[in-house]
């Protein structure tokens, strides 16, 4: 005991000189010779003083700062912080070559041979109070800026229940809910583009969702929105609203694998005549195998089926995509996607597309992606396209959605 006490004293003397950045708590360092009672009391008092996150370090170093991305704000030692939201910005550019130039609205996809600004997205995100958080994302394109999403989310309703309201990407399938920077390819899936629109199904509306308390993931989402989407909806009467719902289930067959299955439906009115309805149904499937922290295989597939009333009758169209993304080392992904629309085919021509891509993420905050596409529409000759995409992200760590 004597020897260990001496060694401990020796260590105590030596420690401060080799730990320059250490922020000492206000109380003296706990001494192992103390009785647990006294020591626990000391720690308890210290914890009471630190009712605010990082207060222990704030008390120790007067130059304590709060960092938001690359910015740094001094925090008043009395604990007053500036309550700024998290601000982040993600820029996506692509050099593109098309053997046949795209026509019409391509959304955020590269639109011409040459250099394309796909999107600069600016996000403001914050917890508002104990009951709500809010997320606002603005999307700057080559021709202007639009509100990508802007919604509040409840945090403290009855367990399992949540309400979101504002402008949001509706929970239809998987691709539609994802922002450009979380896509595994440089451009949108064909079926999603043709049936939900080049910019996706984003509406002003309200979502009520419920996580059903069973031992596996089972989630119901229902949305009510204006239905302004010009691709499949956009009914002309004031009360032409869009009603949409989704059920998602997920389970882990083994420690390293996850499966997610979802079904979505949307019912609204289109602009081809008063009362003309559009119904879209979708099914999606995701399989992920992640044997190690930096290796994974993702297989994602989705099928969309649309019934579109127009003056000549009910038009049935459908389309699917299926892709595999393989993370073979920490920073590298290889992927291949197959797209087909025209299953069945009526308003939308039969088209298929094969898309291999290779992605390198130097860090979590930058991405370089090379992608090739072979696209064939009905009887027209096949077309080739190639992209070299670059993406950067500034600001706080964006968490990666599943």
């Amino acid at each position: 005991m004597k020897r260990s006490a001496l060694i401990f004293l020796g260590l105590l003397l030596l420690l401060p000189s080799k730990a320059p950045a250490r922020s000492k708590p206000p109380a003296s360092s706990p001494d192992t010779s103390n009785s647990p009672d006294r020591e626990i009391e000391e720690i308890s008092n210290r914890l009471k003083d630190t009712s605010q996150p990082s207060a222990s370090s704030a008390a120790a170093s007067p130059q304590e700062t709060r960092s938001i991305g690359i910015f740094k704000y001094p925090v008043n030692p009395t604990g007053v912080q500036r309550l700024l939201p998290d601000i982040s910005l993600i820029g996506t550019f692509a050099g593109a070559y098309f053997s046949r130039e795209p026509v019409g609205d391509t959304g955020v996809d590269p639109k011409r041979t040459g250099i394309n600004l796909q999107e600069i997205e600016v996000a403001f995100q914050s917890i508002i109070d104990p009951y709500f958080r809010a997320d606002v994302m603005l999307s700057f394109g080559e021709s202007g800026v639009e509100l990508e999403e802007g919604y509040f989310t409840t945090l403290a309703l009855v367990k399992g229940l949540q309400i979101r309201g504002g402008k949001m990407r509706l929970p239809f399938g998987r691709q539609n809910q994802k922002h450009t920077e979380t896509w595994d390819f440089a451009d949108n899936a064909l079926a999603s583009k043709y049936f939900l629109g080049p910019d996706g199904l984003k509406e002003l509306g309200v979502e009520v969702s419920y996580l059903i308390p069973v031992p596996f993931f089972l989630q119901l989402q229902g949305t009510f929105s204006n239905g302004d989407n010009g691709t499949s909806f956009g009914g002309t009467r004031v009360k032409d609203f869009l009603y949409q719902g989704r059920v998602t289930t997920s389970f882990d067959p083994s420690a390293n694998t996850s499966i997610l299955i979802g079904g979505s439906a949307a019912l609204g009115f289109n602009a081809t005549g008063p009362g003309n309805q559009t119904k879209i149904y979708g099914g999606d499937f995701l399989f992920k195998w992640k044997p190690q922290s930096y290796r994974s295989v993702t297989w994602q597939s989705e099928y969309l089926f649309r019934q579109f009333d127009d003056p000549s009758g009910v038009q049935n169209d459908g389309g699917l995509y299926s892709y595999v993304d393989w993370q073979f080392i920490k920073r590298w992904h290889a992927g291949i996607r197959y797209d087909q629309v025209g299953l069945p085919s009526h308003l939308v021509a039969k088209e298929y597309r094969v898309t291999p891509a290779l992605t390198f993420n130097p860090t979590e905050f930058t991405r370089i992606r090379a992608q090739y596409e072979y696209d064939k529409v009905a009887a027209v000759n096949g077309a080739h396209a190639a992209f070299l995409q670059f993406e950067f992200s500034m600001g706080p760590h964006g968490a990666h959605p599943f």
């Binding site: 950045a21 922020s23 914890l47 304590e64 031992p215 760590h397 968490a399």
Partner: protein, 297 residues
């Protein structure tokens, strides 16, 4: 439909449990909750011991666990920032929202190392702006964590307060006794040089007096290039490095190469509970001391 609903609601009571349902982001946090909570808690973790705590998927199975939790224990200091925030929102569980009794930030009250003293930007790599979060590898910090957990448990389960305090006392007493033993067995470590893969061992080196002369990662979170490793090989000539310490989830290729070229042994070390034979915090530190001790002597 009615049948399904009926089935769902009859299943509900099965999922409910009389015990306090504790979810730790890492196995070591769940294990500390078991030490303090004993029979009154049921503790599980999201990550496994052999996974990099920075890189987990925000998968739906985690959402379910958090939805059913009475207490969430996380490391704080943005350790889990890449995956915990979205699942916490999706879990729709007001009991464990931040700054509620059901949410334990284990970094509170702990002496934090490597708090940046300059303006942080990401040319420094993935630096945690509020300091190094791997603080459970210093047993003195674990005392603070245990008290923190006991306080939160007592708040959400007041009937168990005396029980938790009794167990906390027992845990701290045992920890103090083991700290004395660990100090003796690491007394000769002071000043001995090691290379660590990531900055995850700063607390261990700080506490034991080991000197981490370099990291295999050139900057936190940035994998090394072979050129960087070649430079490192040249530098080792001027050092007396006894071992290269790395966790099993990092890629082995370049550390293996470094080890071969320099004849410095590569030691795979655990930093969390749940790896082979490591059932609790004491096992973890025992295993660390044994594995590192072998190359130092």
């Amino acid at each position: 439909m009615k049948k399904i609903l009926f089935l769902l609601f009859t299943l509900l009571p099965l999922t409910a449990s009389a015990k306090v349902n504790v979810v730790g982001t890492l196995p070591v946090f769940a294990s500390l909750a078991e030490e303090v909570g004993g029979d009154r808690v049921e503790a599980t973790s999201l990550a496994r011991g052999d996974q990099d705590p920075h890189f987990l998927d925000a998968k739906p199975a985690f959402v379910v666990k958090l939805n059913q939790a009475d207490l969430l224990i996380h490391g704080g200091l943005e350790l889990e920032i890449g995956w915990l925030p979205p699942i916490l929102v999706q879990a729709r569980n007001p009991k464990i929202n931040s700054n509620t009794p059901g949410n334990v930030d284990l970094s509170q009250g702990v002496a934090i190392l490597e708090v940046p003293q300059t303006i942080v930007n990401r040319s420094m790599g993935d630096v945690h702006p509020r300091g190094n979060p791997h603080c459970w590898l210093d047993p003195n910090n674990v005392k603070v964590m245990a008290v923190n957990i006991a306080q939160h448990l007592s708040e959400i389960d007041p009937q168990g307060k005396d029980y938790y305090n009794e167990r906390l006392k027992g845990f701290v007493a045992k920890l103090n006794q083991r700290i004395d033993e660990w100090r003796q067995s690491t007394a000769s470590w002071k000043g001995k040089q090691v290379i660590t893969y990531h900055k995850s061992l700063s607390y261990l080196t700080d506490w034991t007096g080991l000197e981490a002369v370099a990291n295999v990662e050139p900057k936190p979170g940035i994998p090394p290039s072979s050129r960087y490793v070649d430079e490192l090989i040249d530098k080792t000539a001027g050092w007396k490095v006894k071992g290269i310490l790395m966790e099993s989830f990092y890629p082995r290729k370049l550390p293996d190469y470094l080890s071969q070229k320099t004849n410095i042994p590569l030691v795979m070390i655990p930093t969390d509970v749940g790896e082979a034979g490591i059932k609790n915090y004491f096992d973890l530190i025992d295993a660390l001391i044994k594995k590192i001790g072998q190359v130092l002597s």
